[in-house]
Amino acid sequence: MKQDSELKEEFVKQIKENEGIIHKVIGLYVDNPEDNKDLYQEVLLQAWKSYKNFKGKSKFSTWLYRVYLNTVLAFKRKLKPSEELKIENLNHETTKETKKERYEILYYLIKQLDEVDRMIMSLHLDGYANPEIGKITGMTNNHVTVKIHRLKTKIVEQFKKATDGTI
């Protein structure tokens, strides 16, 4: 049985190795710095609380993803609504030029989706296979497959619009 201090050390190390996921998932769900900080604390707290139950059956990043999504979706308190993003409002002249803005457009497009779709799309783009997404979310494999197909079509279309067809 590991000591609490050992566990904490191990947890901190694992979190630091996978911190990109935290920033990305939180960034997809909140915009303002105050909510960002609150959600970030909540997510880490929930991850720590359930870390003792982590048996290493799946990759740490997969487990972490599940805890984050559980927290963001099931534990979410009332957050301030984010500013509505519309593809028409993106500035075409400036967005099509630089590479940096292209991936920012993609990020904004995913943020436009509803909570559940955002989660599915980010898991999919992070390379999780459909059965794995089904396991993490609790959805059926068929449902995941059809959903992803629809979401991808929608995002590709909007991405094309925002980048003047350059995809």
């Binding site: 630091k16 604390q41 909540e42 099931a74 534990f75 783009l125 979310t137 991405f159 995809i167």
Partner: protein
Amino acid sequence: MELYKEWQELNEHLFQNQSLKNEEIMNAITSESSSAINKIKKGLKMKSYWCLLFVFGFTIMMILARDNIGSVVAIGVVNLMYIIGFFQINKESKRMDSELAKDINVLDSMKRNARLIERSINFERNFFVFGAQVIVLCTMFYRQFGMGETFEMLINDTGFLTFALVACIVSVPFVYFVGQYLNNKSFGPYISELKTNINKLEGVEFLKNMQ
């Protein structure tokens, strides 16, 4: 596919350079939870403290009214309600902790949370409705006992019994709707959002859109 490439670049450029400090992680894991479940738990804890305060107050009242057995019984029944309330609220709060396992998928976790919140809210409302009736009746009896009337006299007083019955009938829906309103105000939007997300994950919304 270009989307994956953009996503990879997004990861590299926007999120890989952000670095968390050890102290930030340690502070976060010792901070207080802001989740809805935690909010309910805190609310329950506060209510249990109030129950204890009332138990203390009613016990003193019972001691002061010890010469009038009727008053002691009337206050005692109310006191008993608060004692039961205290233990039930504590039990509910502990049950919430034991059921919050995390090694499940998002859908199960959301269903579990919705169930816990609804159960806790229903428990509070039902207890409030039942408790309020007992308190209304006991207060009426206590008042009459203070005026020198006995239990036998009161149960044979048709006027008093009618008044007590009307008070109960009127207060049941009132207390029920007040409880419902307060709960809806505090947790209504959260529960409905949770249910919408559950439906979406279960494919209910998705199937509706397909039709």
